[in-house]
């Protein structure tokens, strides 16, 4: 294996709880790899093992060619890690936080000032550098976290749900920064609960109950879903869901806000049948049309069929 990040049968057991069960992958330099999965799937545990924070119970992982267990010390210089619980020193200023990480990563001399200035600008924090980190907005904290994790210019970044609880605009900004890093050739391993973010990854792994159940490009994963997707907009969601579930040729029904997403074997013929059945049941239909499945639908569909 020649990848930037490779894992072979990586497993972690906490007492009786098998949090990660034999996970393997091979990630090429420059990829953005997204790990998605429900709460407790084992994403954090996987990342902690890859970043060398925790030793696996079984299996091995290599990052940048270094073994994460035996060469954990050397690895530190080449990886950046933002923990899910990531936190800054709230009583230190933005600048002091970055300076502290610069110091302990041994970024000294002329490079230090130049790099800190560049990172502050990069993370769009240069105007806030004297502000206490504790009073920054959620999005700014995450950006500062990223700046601190990247102070030593690592080749690999592990980010564990870095945008959790951040507003959509800040999330977009955060991803813009990640794109810049991607262009610079940094390999990014990111876990996220937002499936729209997963669409921006070069490859996605679906993690479920400690295993990676599917892996591929977002496009490929979307196509794993059986059948066609129909979107039905109706004010009578409850009736529509009950009726649709019982019709022939229906794989799955998901409810999204004011609409119903129905996976069927043949879109064109089934649309007509569903419409008739729903009207007969007394439901008003505002619209019924074929739709392209997002990763979100694909993901729920895949998991519910396990």
């Amino acid at each position: 294996m020649t990848g930037q990040i490779t894992a072979t049968q990586l497993s972690k057991t906490f007492r009786k709880n098998q949090a990660v069960r034999g996970v393997s992958f091979d990630i090429a330099p420059g990829e953005i790899y997204g790990l998605i999965g429900p709460d407790g799937a084992g994403k954090t545990t996987t990342i902690r093992m890859l970043a060398g924070v925790m030793d696996p119970t079984r299996g091995t992982a290599r990052v940048n060619g270094l073994d994460t267990t035996r060469q954990a010390e050397q690895l530190r210089a080449h990886v950046g890690y933002m923990a899910q619980k990531f936190s800054l020193y709230g009583d230190l200023s933005v600048r002091e936080n970055i300076e502290f990480y610069a110091d302990i990563f041994g970024v000294r001399g002329k490079a230090r000032a130049e790099r800190i200035a560049r990172l502050l600008k990069f993370a769009r924090l240069d105007q806030f550098q004297d502000r206490d980190a504790g009073v920054l907005s959620g999005g700014m904290k995450k950006k500062l976290g990223l700046a601190c994790a990247f102070i030593h210019r690592p080749r690999v970044l592990f980010l564990d749900e870095p945008t959790n609880g951040v507003d959509p605009i800040s999330r977009r900004e955060f991803w813009d920064i990640l794109s810049d890093l991607h262009i610079e050739g940094v390999t990014i391993f990111i876990s996220t609960a937002y499936l729209d973010e997963a669409e921006r990854c070069s490859r996605v792994g679906l993690m479920y109950r400690g295993e990676i159940i599917r892996e591929g490009t977002p496009i490929a994963l979307r196509q794993l879903v059986q059948g066609d997707l129909l979107a039905i907009i109706t004010p009578d969601l409850q009736i529509a869901e009950n009726v649709a579930q019982k019709l022939p040729g229906i794989f799955e029904v998901q409810v999204y806000g004011d609409r119903l997403h129905v996976f069927v074997d043949a879109g064109a013929t089934r649309a007509r049948e569903i419409e008739i059945a729903l009207v007969a049941a007394g439901a008003t239909i505002k619209q019924i049309r074929p739709a392209a499945p997002h990763l979100q639908e694909a993901f729920i569909s895949l998991i519910s069929h396990l």
């Binding site: 010390e73 210089a77 020193y89 002091e96």
Partner: protein, 369 residues
């Protein structure tokens, strides 16, 4: 490697300087504590109940009793007729102090070149009260001496022979205040060290440090260094306050006092670090500190001399760094003891330091990030 340790210690110092609560704890508590102790042990206590057994029955002895009565500090309650009666009054707590005027007191005093002995019994149950009783008796007698002995005569001092009932050790005001030097340093260092790791764990920054080139040893040393610096700064300032503010003369070797202060501070950093590793929140850690402090103060011989405790309590007291250090402080500062006279406290203290630091290191190495 040492550079990283300094970086960490600097970060810790910056944080400490911004932690108002901790700063208040560092500054206010010592001031209040020292002030209260000074007040309690100073001339604060009035109307001390006094018993007198006048065997002399001379004009002079009657004047002496009157002078004590009029000094304002004493409330003469009993004229006793025997030593047993005096003892009983003190033992039953009916009086706080008793003066025994020997039969030939005035004749002795009149003889030039000799000094007259005046036995005084003081209730030593509470060392703080006892020291103020002593202070009051001492100053009353000093006034009398000036009053009765003509200025042109060769002054024959009255030799007070103090006996502390219940209290074998001489726990005077000085030793009470000097003991504070240990107590306050103890509290401060323990809190700073106990919060050290658990705070970062609670925040989530410890996991972040895990992926930096900082090793566990450097982390331990960096945090320990900061606590040592704070502790010794505090120790030095308190020493200056006691030495020059309270004007308590230091009889021992200053270098020895400082060196043993460093040893004690390291022992407490070890204890604090242990607490910081085994607890899950800052709150828990602080609670543990308070519980431990209550125990250790009890065992330190501050309220009841360790020698007067039952054997099992004395055994436990042997495991308290504070107990050993309190004894060391009193011995070095007040009595001017040298290292050779203190091995029985210094060796256990050094051993406890080794054990706590070693255990902290062992557990920290095995702890999850």
């Amino acid at each position: 490697m040492h550079k990283t340790i300094l970086n960490l210690a600097w970060k810790e110092t910056l944080q400490l300087l911004r932690d108002r609560l901790l700063l208040a704890f560092m500054v206010i508590i010592p001031v209040v504590q020292l002030g209260l102790i000074a007040e309690a042990t100073g001339a604060g206590i009035r109307n001390i109940k006094l018993a007198v057994w006048d065997q002399d029955k001379s004009a002079f002895s009657r004047d002496l009793v009157t002078a004590l009565k009029n000094s304002g500090d004493f409330n003469l309650m009993y004229y006793a007729q025997s030593y047993d009666e005096i003892r009983a009054l003190v033992n039953d707590g009916k009086v706080g102090a008793a003066v025994i005027i020997p039969p030939d007191f005035s004749r002795e005093l009149a003889r030039t070149g000799a000094s007259a002995t005046l036995p005084v019994i003081i209730d030593g149950t509470n060392s703080i009260v006892a020291s103020s009783l002593l202070g009051a008796v001492e100053s009353a007698i000093a006034d009398l001496t000036r009053q009765f002995v003509p200025a042109n005569a060769i002054i024959t001092p009255i030799d007070l022979k103090i006996e502390f009932a219940f209290n074998a050790t001489l726990n005077i005001r000085w030793s009470t205040i000097v003991t504070q030097l240990g107590f306050i340093t103890y509290q401060l260092v323990l809190v700073v060290a106990a919060v050290g790791f658990v705070r970062e764990r609670e925040l989530g920054t410890l996991e972040q440090l895990a992926v930096t080139p900082i090793s566990r040893l450097e982390l331990l040393l960096g945090k320990g260094l900061m606590a040592l610096g704070i502790g010794m700064l505090n120790y030095t300032l308190l020493y200056l306050a006691i030495r020059y503010g309270f004007e308590i003369p230091m009889r021992g070797n200053l270098a020895l006092l400082m060196a043993l202060g460093v040893l004690f501070t390291i022992a407490e950093i070890g204890v604090g670090t242990l607490l910081s590793i085994v607890t899950h929140s800052q709150q828990q850690a602080i609670l543990m500190v308070f519980m431990l402090a209550m125990l250790e103060v009890t065992f330190s011989g501050y309220l009841v001399p360790t020698e007067n405790m039952p054997w099992f309590m004395q055994t436990i007291a042997n495991f308290s760094p504070l107990q050993h250090f309190s004894a060391i402080l009193r011995a070095v500062y007040i009595k001017g003891s040298s290292l050779e006279m203190l091995w029985h406290h210094v060796i256990p203290l050094a051993a406890l330091t080794g054990i706590t630091v070693g255990a902290g290191w062992y557990l920290f190495n095995r702890a999850e990030w």
